[in-house]
Each structure stands twice: as C-alpha cells, then as structure tokens.
C-alpha cells in the first residue's frame, strides 16, 4: 500500500472544520439549556409551586423538553461535531458537500427551536422521545437524510481504502436511527399540529420501546463509541487495544441491541414470549457492551500516567467507565425479578442519568476540551478549570445517581411490601411512599446543580480558548485513491461466503427453535447446536480466510452498509411483524376496551397534551402489589384502540388504568384544581387553565374519521352529531358537579378530562370465537410459526390431562 501511496497523485485538501465548530457550540449551549430545564423539573417534583400554575411551565410539558433537548440537541450536536471532524480525517477527504453540511447544521437547529416552542405549548404525540408533532417529524427525517447523503457521499469519495472502526459505528447509527424514527413516527394527521400514530395499544407499546430503547442504543451509544474509537487513541497516543474485539463487539452490539426493547414492558400486557426475548437479549448484550468499554480502557495501557495530567483523558476514562457501569446496570434491570422492584421507579431515572451525564456528558466534555484548542489553533485556556469541571461533574453525577438508586429502591420496596401472609399491602397510601423519597429528590437537585455548574465552566473555558486563538481549518496533502483501490467487492462475495452463510443458517435454526410447533422446535435446536460445532470447526481451520474476507469487506462501504442494515433490521422484524399481524382487536379473546365517546376522546387528547403520562402509568402489571393497589391486572385488549398507548414508564403518581369510577366527578374536579385538597401532600401541579379553556370541538369529527380509518369501530356519525354527543355528555357531568355546588360549563376542558378519566378501565367481553391465531398470514416460513406462549399452554394442558 505504501508503494501505491508514493506514486499516487496528491492533492492539498482543506477540511471543513467550520461545521465542526458550529456543532460544538450548539451542543454546549443547547446542553446547558436542556440541563437547566432538567433542574427546573427536578425542583418541581419537590416544590409544586414552581409549576407557577402556568400551562407551559408544568412538569408534564417540560419533561419532554428536557429529554428531547438533552438527547437530540446536546448529544445530537455533539455527535455531529465528532462525526464531521473524524470522518473527514478517517476518509482523508473534505465532507462531500458544504451545502449539505450547512443545511444539516441549520436545519437541525431549526428543529430544536421548533421543539422548544411546540412542547411547552402542549403540542405532542404523547410517546416518549417521540413527542414532536408530525411536521417536525418530517423535518427531522429530511435533515437526517441530508446528513446521511453527505456522510455516505464522503465515504464514496474517500482517499483511505478501508473503513476504520469509528466509521462502522457511524454507519450503524445513521441507518438504524432512520429506520427507527420513520417506523415509530408513522401517523395520520388530523390537523397541522396533531396526528394519531398508526399503531395502537400493545403494537404501539412494542414499536415505541423498540424505538425508545434503540434511540439509547443508536443515538446515545453507537455514535459515541465511534467517537471514542477516534478521539481516545488520539488523546492518549496509543494503538487501540484490539481490532478483533472491535469486530466482535460491533457486530454483536448492533445485532443484539435491537431485540432488547421489550425489557421496558416487563410484567405488562405485552405477550410473555416478547418479554422473555427482551430479557434474554438484554443479558446477552452485557458482554458486547463491555467489549466497547474494554477496548476503550485497555487502549490506555502504557499511557495511564496521562490520566493524572490531561483533563481530556480524565473525562474519557470516567465516561467509558460510566458506560461500563450503566451497561451492566441495564441488563440487571431487565431481569424480570429485578424489574418487579425497579420498574416505574427512580432507579430507572438514576440508570439513564448515569448514562446521559456519565457517558454522554463526559465523552462530550472530553471531546470538546480536545477539539477546541485544535479548532482555534491555540492551547486550552485553563487546564485547572477543566480539572475542576471534571471533579464537580463527577461528584454531581455520583450524588444524583446515588440519590436516585436509594429513592427508587426505597419506594419500590415500600410499594411492593406485603404483610407476612401476602394478603395486604403494608403501605397502601401511594403518597406515603412519595413523601418518603422527598429528601432524596432534594439531593438529586444538588447533584444536578453541580453537574450544570461544571458544564457552565466548560462554556467559559472554551469561549476564552476560542478568543485566545482564531478559527483554523486544517489543510493536508493526501494521496488520491484510484477507483480500483476501493469498493470493488461484488455482491456474491459480500453474501456468499462462509462467515455470512454460517451466521444466517444458524440464526434461521434458532428462530425455528423459538417459533416452530412442538417437536420441530427441538429438532431445530439440536440442528442449531450441531451447526455451531461445525462452524467452530470451520473457523479453526479457515479462520484466516474469514479474517481476510472481513478485511476486504472493509474496503467496500456499500456491502458493509447493507450487511449492517440486515443485522439491525432482523430483531425488529421478528418482534414487530407478528405483533402487528396477530395482536389486533379482532383477535382479542378476553377483554376489549369500550370505545371513547367524542367527549372522552377530547379529554384523552388533553391528557396526552398535558403530558400526564410522564407521571401516571396506565398499566397494572401482573404482580400482586400492583393488583392489590390498583385493581385487576391490565389485559392486552384493554388498550387495543389507544392511539397512542399511554402505559407510561414512570409512576410519580399512582397508576390510572382503572381510575374510571373510582371516585366521583367532584373528586376529580377538586383534585385537578388543587390536588392537595383531596390528596394532602401530593406534588401534582394544579391545572387551573383546564377550568377556563374550552376543549377543541372543531377537530373532533376529523379525529374520529382518522381513528375509524385506523380500525376503531366508531358508529357512523356526522359532524353535528359528534358535537352534540360531546356537549350532551358534558351537560350530564356539569349536572352531577352542580349537586355538590361545583360550577363549570359543559364545553370546558376539565369536563372532557373528567369524562376520559371516568372511562378508564371499562371493557367489554367479546364473544369468544374460534380464531385463526396460530396462522398469521404473510410470513414466509415453510411451516407456520406458533405463538410460544400458546404452545406452552397447550403442552401444559396435555400433560395435565395425561396425569392421573
């Protein structure tokens, strides 16, 4: 290769470092904004007065702003800065199009601004990290494609024959986020600011957490791993620990991650086989995640002394260590027995913050402290200030995370504790458990404040650094690659080779084991075992040839990209397609929810807009304490018409799945006006504007038309009937309220919300017919797959009938 380099034509290129600078500043500034909002909402949990009785400052609307700002604005811009900087150097080429880079940068900032306006206004899709309304969704998709085109075009123009591991991670990021984002945002608009997702209930839950979990994986993890692979060896000036480890952990990470989404839905109405798949794949994900940590940390071998002197290395090492910690904690929380305690509690909040603040935040800090002096041709303004940032940041994270661990475990134990014979709850009052963790919620604010101060110091430090130098765009002489030196692998060589063939055949056999009818499943498992042995034997004999194929693959960006896409697409296909095909209203066997009346639907949309799901779940889990506290566990059919589903992920307040009929209308009326009048000690904000604002009658007919199109069996009604129906139901509620001297009008938002809350938990029992559940159509298997849960039940009843 060095021979070619010597004779090849050379060219002087200037890297586009301006875009990198822009993304860097955007990341820091949006990061500070996002963290400030985080501080505010953390304080609101302790001091409800900080909601200021103002609609756009309430917790339910600001919490999505915090999460979206930190994920998409802070980490998003940071990722783009790192990717733009390293990709150009790893490809020895300037970004393909300055125009696209500009569109990408400004488009992304515009999206952030529009999110910051719409979310406080209560315009939301009501799914976590997927709250933005549909016009913004379209903009995100377009800008992401712009980024993708710019990136892959640069790969195509590269002057480096093979792809370095950082680029593998960037490729996986770009593809997977596009796939996840588009599928999870499929919706039908009802107006310019509102839409209904095409998925309902359990399907929506599965797709949402396939997306939500993998937003963590492919937005917060893989791009940052790529950044680690470039910037960490740069900072410590040592070779990467192991190329082989890079290969194994990259492919296993991107393949396995996708399957783990259902671990957000353990003990819910999600079919059990999906829950178990989610749990087992999460456990199998632990080692691949740690592969990344090992490759980062062990790269420091021979350079550990830098940890003492260089703040960049400090941040990187701590960041990677937090990555290791949270990727150990993740699989732990995905074990059903642990999740029994941790789900809906602050433990999860602690977990994500050790990832977001420890891994993402510290990797960002390391990246920016390394980048800024180089981007401005100067030295870092103050190393001691950066060191100080490191220490208060670290203490901040530890205070925050320890507080949330303690809080989550304590509240979880209190909520789940039953008396000695397991017949009654020890702490029946939810508020008692909430007030027990109040001091810990205070500690969280302290931790957050420390962390925020560190970030603010970084802004100052880097601003002074920038002032002491001036913007520099690196120029470099590169040897131009000839056409035949890259991207020459034919399709046959990409797919028809031993490693790929063995992997696919093995996976197919494993799938056969999971989904084939009893008898054939065991055969498939035995075949899979034998096959693995053969593959190992082959690998021992011809390992070098396999390695050679992979080395050649790295010189071919498109085949590499296609294989990556196959790896990330499989898990989703196998989990989501059967759910979407089988778990539909017509197949529901035991209970099916009653359709919302127009007024209840209006109330539900208000519930979604106000972000009630940020604190209240609507999912009673299949665990005894949940059933004792909230009523019979939720069935799959009880939310089968919910667009979007509102199962929730955190209980700052009690579950509402069976709230309907639990209290009189007047209780809800008083409760939402002044939550402490009915629930002393509550931290819920008052919702005074619901008593003044009128609910939206105008779009109701359109909304019902869209829901009908999505399969909700509304009886035919014209627009006038719909509005009349809504107002008549409102009048009934107003009458009942008047009996208790509470006065309002039938067209107020509060009336709609009360109607909705009183509907929660109502269901019909459909006539059980013979349904062709076992043969979902359209799945190309030679034998028809079976639902593992049903096969298990059938097997059990067989053995039961045989037994005496």
């Amino acid at each position: 290769m060095s021979d070619t380099a010597a004779t090849a034509p050379k060219q002087l290129i200037e890297f586009d470092d301006k875009t990198v600078r822009q993304f860097m500043w955007a990341s820091i500034i949006w990061g500070l904004v996002g963290m400030l909002v985080g501080l505010l909402i953390a304080s609101q949990l302790n001091f409800f007065q900080l909601n200021f009785e103002t609609s756009f400052l309430t917790f339910g609307r600001l919490r999505p702003l915090h999460t979206n700002a930190v994920i998409f604005a802070f980490v998003g811009n940071m990722m783009f800065a790192g990717i733009y900087y390293s990709t150009q150097r790893l490809c020895k080429a300037r970004m393909a199009s300055d125009m696209l880079s500009k569109v990408h940068f400004w488009g992304w900032q515009l999206i952030i601004v529009s999110a910051a306006v719409t979310l406080p206004l209560g315009l939301t899709r009501g799914q976590e990290y997927a709250e933005l309304i549909w016009p913004i969704n379209l903009a995100v998709a377009v800008i992401w494609v712009v980024f993708a085109v710019n990136f892959f075009w640069t790969l195509a123009k590269r002057n480096e024959p093979t792809l370095y591991v950082a680029l593998w991670f960037y490729i996986a990021t770009i593809l997977t986020i596009a796939m996840l984002y588009i599928v999870n945002h499929l919706s039908i608009p009802t107006s310019w600011t509102h839409s209904y997702t095409v998925f309902a209930g359990v399907q929506n839950a599965l797709v949402q957490w396939w997306y939500g979990h993998n937003a963590v994986a492919f937005f917060l993890t893989t791009p940052i791993l790529g950044i680690m692979y470039y910037f960490l060896p740069k900072a410590v000036e040592r070779p990467v620990y192991s190329y082989r480890l890079s290969i194994v952990h990259f492919w296993s990470l991107v393949f396995i991650y996708i399957w783990a989404g259902p671990h957000h839905l353990l003990h819910t109405a999600l079919p059990e086989w999906l829950q178990y798949l989610g749990m087992f794949f999460s456990l199998m994900l632990w080692a691949p995640s740690w592969g990344g940590m090992l490759n980062g940390l062990l790269t420091l071998r021979g350079a550990w002394d830098k940890l003492r002197t260089d703040p960049v290395v400090k941040f990187f090492v701590a960041g990677v260590t937090f990555y290791g910690m949270s990727t150990f904690e993740g699989p732990l929380l995905s074990i059903r027995a642990v999740n029994y305690l941790s789900h809906y509690s602050d433990w999860t909040i602690g977990h994500v913050h050790s990832g977001a603040m420890g891994w993402n935040g510290f990797m960002a800090a390391g990246l920016f402290y390394w980048l800024a002096p180089r981007l401005y041709g100067t030295k870092l303004h103050s190393t001691s200030m950066a060191n100080f940032h490191f220490w208060i940041g670290l203490i901040g994270i530890l205070v925050y995370v320890l507080a949330m661990w303690t809080s989550g475990i304590m509240q979880g134990l209190m909520l789940n504790q039953t008396n000695a014979d397991g017949t009654a709850l020890v702490n029946p009052a939810f508020l008692e458990t909430l007030n027990a963790i109040r001091p810990l919620m205070l500690f969280r604010i302290v931790g957050g404040l420390l962390y925020f101060s560190g970030m603010a110091l970084m802004l100052v430090n880097l601003a002074l650094t920038a002032r002491s130098g001036k913007p520099v765009n690196e120029t470099r002489e590169v040897a131009l690659l000839q056409r035949n030196e890259k991207d020459t692998m034919p399709v046959t060589e990409t797919f028809l080779n031993d490693p790929v063939a063995y992997l696919f055949a093995g996976m197919l056999l494993v799938l056969g084991w999971l989904f084939l009818p009893p008898g054939s499943d065991i055969v498939a498992l035995i075949c899979a075992g034998l096959f693995t042995l053969i593959a190992i034997k082959k690998f021992r004999e011809k390992g070098a040839a396999w390695g050679g194929w992979y080395d050649r693959l790295l010189a071919n960006y498109l085949p590499f990209t296609i294989l990556t896409f196959v790896a990330v697409a499989l898990g989703g296909l196998i989990q989501i397609v059967p759910t979407v095909v089988v778990n539909r209203a017509r197949n529901v066997e035991d209970r099916i929810q009653k359709i919302y009346t127009p007024l209840e639907l209006a109330g539900r949309d208000i519930y979604v807009n106000e972000g009630c799901y940020n604190c209240h779940s609507q999912m009673i889990r299949t665990i005894l304490p949940d059933v004792l506290r909230y009523g019979d566990y939720s069935r799959l059919g009880e939310s089968i018409y919910d667009h979007p589903f509102q199962w929730g992920s955190k209980r700052t307040g009690p579950d509402l799945a069976r709230e309907g009929g639990r209290y009189p209308d007047s209780w809800h009326f008083r409760h939402m006006q002044d939550p402490r009048s009915t629930s002393p000690g509550s931290n819920m904000p008052p919702y005074t504007w619901l008593y003044e604002d009128k609910f939206d009658q105008k779009t109701l007919p359109k909304k019902i038309a869209v829901l009908t199109r999505l399969g909700v069996p509304y009886p035919p009604m014209d627009a006038a009937e719909i509005r009349e129906n809504a107002i008549n139901q409102g009048i009934e509620i107003v009458k009942r309220l008047r009996e208790e001297n509470l006065y309002t009008e039938p067209d107020r938002k509060i009336v709609a919300v009360i109607a909705y809350l009183q509907k929660l938990g109502q269901f019909d029992t459909p006539q059980v017919e013979e349904k062709l559940l076992t043969t979902p159509v359209g799945i190309p298997f030679p034998m028809s797959p079976v639902n593992p849960d049903k096969a298990r039940r059938a097997r059990q009843s067989d053995t039961a009938s045989v037994a005496p």
Partner: protein
C-alpha cells in the same frame, strides 16, 4: 477460541495500517469476557428450553390467579369470624380504634373530614357524614364493613372499594373507628336516596 495468527510470544500483533495516525493491536479476546458472554447465551437456551419446551413454572396469568385465590381464601376465613357483635366490641377496644384512626386520617379524611362530619370549614366534602344517625347503605357494623370493603354499588357517585388496597384487617380497624362514634342500639334512619329503601319495597 485461539487466535489463529498469534504466535507464542508475549507481544500482541500490531496491525500495520494506520488511520490518521491511529494503529490497532490485534489482541485475542479476554477469556473471562468471552465466558461471561457464553454463559448468558447458554442461560438463554436453557431458560427458554425449561420454560417453553418443558413447560416448567407458572405463567403470569396462572401465577396471578393462584395468588389471588389464596388471598380470597384467607379473607373468607377471617370474615367468618366477624359479625355485628364482634365489631361493636372492637369499637370499644382502644388499641383497635387507634389503628383505625391512623388509616382514617390518611385515607378517608379527604372526603369524610377528621371529625367525620364530611364538612370542612363550612364546606361540604365529597363524602357522606359518618357522625350522624342517617345511613345511605345501612348502619349496622357489618353493612358498613361491606361498604368499605366493596365500595358503593354506584361507584360513580361514591365510595371506592378499599379492601384490595388497604387489606381486610385495616378495613376492619377503620370500621371499628367509625363505629366508636356510635352506640349499639342507637336509632338509625335510611337516607332518602338509599338503595336499601328500593330493595325493601
């Protein structure tokens, strides 16, 4: 998994190519790491095999049904021991009444008020007064007990069922506390909207 191209020497292979100055070693994978990964895979296979193919263990629905049946059994046994006389006796037992008061003050007070009048500072609260002799759902201790356990027949207008959340013992204590504000044999009237009146007709 032995490294195919690593000889016995201690130095790991350093791959020749450098990307923007970054080189890579080609170390073999740490054994402890590989084995921890293999164990999670073996665990997946074994657990799935045992649960799905051998059918060992209860699924969620079976587990819930059995647990709830057990609770119901214990409840029925306890209920058999309770009658009006027993509840009146408990309403005189200071220890029981104190326990009932504790629950009342956290769970019931928001609707029925601390003095059981269902009025706070002149305002009517959502609940019914419990300190007078007028009853909507019957004033015998067992009738009150049933109401607290199961909730009002028309729950959109009234009392939720408290037995699941509080447990039978706490419900009994609360009833004892409420009945401690009454005397056995005192005159009772049914409210005008009492569903019991309709039944009597």
């Amino acid at each position: 998994m032995d490294a195919p191209n690593s000889p016995d020497n201690q130095e790991p292979t350093l791959r020749e190519h450098a990307y923007d100055g970054i080189q890579e070693y080609d170390q073999k994978l740490p054994n402890w790491w590989l084995w921890s990964w293999y164990i999670t895979m073996i665990w997946f296979v074994l657990a799935w095999l045992i649960y799905y193919q051998l059918g060992v263990g209860r699924d969620d629905a079976q587990r819930m049904a059995e647990d709830l049946a057990k609770i119901e059994e214990v409840r029925q046994k306890e209920l058999e021991k309770i009658d009006d006389a027993k509840l009146w006796a408990m309403s005189q037992d200071e220890a029981v009444v104190a326990k009932g008061k504790e629950t009342f003050m956290t769970t019931c007070v928001a609707c029925h008020a601390a003095d059981l009048s269902a009025h706070l500072a002149g305002n009517k609260l959502p609940g019914l007064p419990l300190n007078d002799q007028e009853w909507k759902h019957g004033g015998n201790p067992t009738q009150v007990l049933n109401l607290v356990r199961k909730g009002a027949p028309d729950i959109t207008k009234g009392m939720p069922a408290w037995e699941p959340q509080l447990g039978l013992d706490r419900v009994v204590d609360v009833v004892a506390f409420v009945m401690s504000h009454h005397k056995e044999g005192e005159p009772q009237t049914l409210a005008a909207d009492s569903p019991l009146k309709a039944e009597a007709k």
